[in-house]
């Protein structure tokens, strides 16, 4: 049953992010960490629609996307913990790791920079016969970055198989997106590029899935790119340590009423799934993640003697 597996997949991400916070507070993880708590439906709804050979490019807020794409939790924990067994042996950290063997082509810590890179993955599929489509994820604020514009335009002009996913969580770091654009309906920008554009509920994995499926079909069919605006909210700070003083009173309470996990759980309960089963799904996810973190913590740190490897071929 898709909805139960969605619930599990989302709990897994939630559990992962909570564990990450715990490890950060305990100073096991050092440095900037951007959690996607509240935004789990996007990756979960999207990644089931991608084939293994498709390319996915995410941002610093990429743990959920990596997990949904199949990157093992343990390898990501180990990465953030600076372990040799980290998915990049500690080179990338929380905000800049990549796992191409899972079709997860990397986080990026430069806002918007991955969008043109994704366009290139699509360009490649014009000549390599792979049938690959490229998906690039970025935030609402990233749409104001020149590189994203250039990527959207090139994809539109060349009708490239790209799905641009904008996770609109209402804020660019600490600044409301509504104050930083002339038209807060960001999906409408698609028209400027001659590509399809839609705004959808980004807190419901099924809605996301349907929108992505349609966009992926369009891409695979050779009729071009799509800009999807997923409306969502992060229930936590921009990064760990964010005092969130920019929140309006009641904003988080309101957001909690629409957050994907509570919603899907309630929906499943209505359809008759037993509370105990729902609890079990959650417990399983937390257990899996706890074990992954445990193993990662037990692994040896990256070897400082290797720090100069792989700069050049």
């Amino acid at each position: 049953m898709t909805q139960l597996s969605d619930l599990y997949a989302m709990w897994r991400i939630r559990a992962f992010e909570e564990k990450t916070r715990e490890l950060w507070l305990a100073k096991h993880i050092i440095g900037s960490v951007h959690l996607c708590i509240g935004q789990e439906a996007g990756p979960v709804g999207t990644c089931t629609e991608l084939a293994p050979h498709d390319a996915l490019f995410a941002t610093y807020r990429g743990h959920g996307w990596a997990l949904a794409r199949g990157v093992p939790a343990q390898a990501i924990f180990a990465e953030m913990l600076g372990r040799a067994s980290g998915v990049n042996g500690g080179r990338g950290g929380s905000a800049y790791f990549t796992a191409p063997e899972y079709g997860f082509n990397g986080e990026n810590s430069i806002v918007g920079a991955a969008a043109p890179i994704a366009v290139g993955a699509a360009l490649a599929s014009r000549i390599d016969g792979s049938g690959r489509i490229a998906v690039t994820v970025f935030g609402d604020g990233a749409l104001n970055q020149g590189a994203v514009h250039e990527a959207l335009n090139m994809a539109g002009a060349f009708r490239l198989p790209v799905v641009f996913i904008c996770e609109n969580n209402g804020y660019s770091e600490l600044t409301p997106i509504a104050d930083m654009v002339g038209d807060p309906q960001l999906w409408r920008r698609a028209a400027a590029y001659g590509i399809a554009g839609h705004r959808v509920d980004g807190n419901d994995p099924q809605t996301v899935r349907a929108a992505v499926a349609e966009a992926a079909d369009r891409a695979r069919g050779g009729t071009g790119a799509t800009l999807l605006e997923l409306m969502t909210q992060r229930l936590v700070g921009h990064y760990l340590g964010d005092a969130e003083q920019y929140r309006k009173p009641g904003e988080l309470d309101e957001a909690l009423r629409h957050e994907p996990l509570a919603r899907l759980r309630a929906a499943l309960a209505t359809t008759g799934v037993a509370e105990s089963e729902l609890d079990e799904v959650k417990a399983q996810a937390y257990a899996e993640i706890a074990e992954a973190a445990q193993k990662a913590l037990a692994a040896p740190h990256a070897d400082a003697a290797t720090a100069l490897e792989h700069i050049y071929a």
Binding site: S109, A147, D179
Partner: protein, 326 residues
């Protein structure tokens, strides 16, 4: 004279400039309402209003370009690029636009902007948030560069930068913002640009550095003093205008030269310092050395990064070897 940390000193300078010069604007991403991701601009919007202190879209070209346009109209914008690394999405505006304005117009349309940015590695930071890019700006004629490492210099650098009629890049460092408080003289007359500090005087070895790593250099020099090695430690707060004479004088006197910077070694500004001393015909008794981050991308794991960015130990050992030949 108040006790301020580095962040507070920058804030005090910005407040002073906003208060005294109505053409000053302070803006950038998260700079206004939130007061900056490092809290540097806290309170300024409230006091000086949203027309002069404000947030921007994530659009570095628009931030820098608009600063130039405002400066061409007679304003004195002070804009923030959150990380020096991000300047690379918009370097055109600094190198192709701001740097040319005065020259091409024969002085009639200069673009005296101040660009604040902060750079360098901090524990856990990834390769895209760790670079030291001063060498790019220092290879751009028309641009001035200052790199304060103390609260007093942070204050003074900004005050001077805002009064200099050239575009000035003020490179701060986020590991310093919350550092120790120090007594800061809140001068109102800007110092002339180009100053440096001699942190120690000594005859055994000239050590030139700049930016946050100066703190490590000073500590290393202290350790060397314990071994009876007396170093002449020069912190070049301003890298353009650079006081080459001070460096040459010192190197000629000690006969030994070390340059320390956090930036990657090859093509770093340390090469320029070594070259200038060599060109000046200074006779060194031992070859000059550069102590720098090797030519590497910066890994996020602290256990890796700390072996790359020169530590107090590494600096002390290499300085020691430069003098004692081991």
């Amino acid at each position: 004279m108040p006790e301020l940390n580095y962040r507070e000193a920058v804030n005090a300078a910005l407040a002073h400039l906003l208060a005294t010069d109505p053409t000053v604007m302070v803006y950038g991403e998260d700079v206004g309402e939130p007061g900056g991701v490092f809290g540097v601009t806290r309170g300024l919007r409230k006091t000086y209003g949203a027309a002069r202190v404000f947030d921007t879209p994530i659009s570095e070209s628009a931030i820098l370009g608009s600063a130039i346009g405002a400066a061409l109209m007679g304003c004195r914008p002070i804009v923030e690029i959150m990380w020096a690394d991000f300047s690379l999405v918009a370097l055109d505006q600094i190198v192709n636009q701001a740097a040319n304005a005065r020259y091409v117009s024969q002085g009639r349309a200069p673009a005296p902007i101040v660009v604040r940015m902060q750079q360098g590695n901090a524990p856990g930071a990834c390769a895209q948030h760790s670079q030291c890019l001063e060498a790019f700006f220092l290879h751009t004629p028309g641009i001035r560069v200052v790199m304060p490492s103390s609260p007093q210099d942070a204050y003074d650098a900004l005050l001077t930068a805002s009064h200099v009629d050239d575009p000035v890049i003020v490179i701060e460092n986020r590991t310093l913002y919350a550092g120790e408080k120090a007594t800061v003289r809140l001068r109102t007359d800007p110092l002339p640009m180009g100053w440096h500090h001699r942190h120690r005087s000594g005859g055994d070895l000239t050590v030139v550095s700049w930016g946050a790593i100066t703190h490590r250099v000073v500590e290393a020099a202290q350790r060397l003093a314990g071994d009876g090695i007396e170093t002449d430690v020069l912190e070049m707060v301003w890298l353009n205008r650079l006081d080459t004479d001070a460096i040459v004088e010192s190197a000629a006197r000690t006969g030994r030269l070390a340059v320390v910077h956090e930036a990657n070694r090859t093509g770093g500004f340390g090469a320029e310092i070594v070259a200038r001393v060599a060109e000046a015909g200074v006779h060194l008794s031992v070859p000059p050395i550069r102590i720098a981050t090797p030519d590497v991308r910066m890994p996020a794991a602290p256990v890796l990064a700390t072996t790359l960015v020169p530590s107090v130990e590494v600096i002390a050992d290499r300085l020691y070897a430069a003098v004692k030949g081991t």
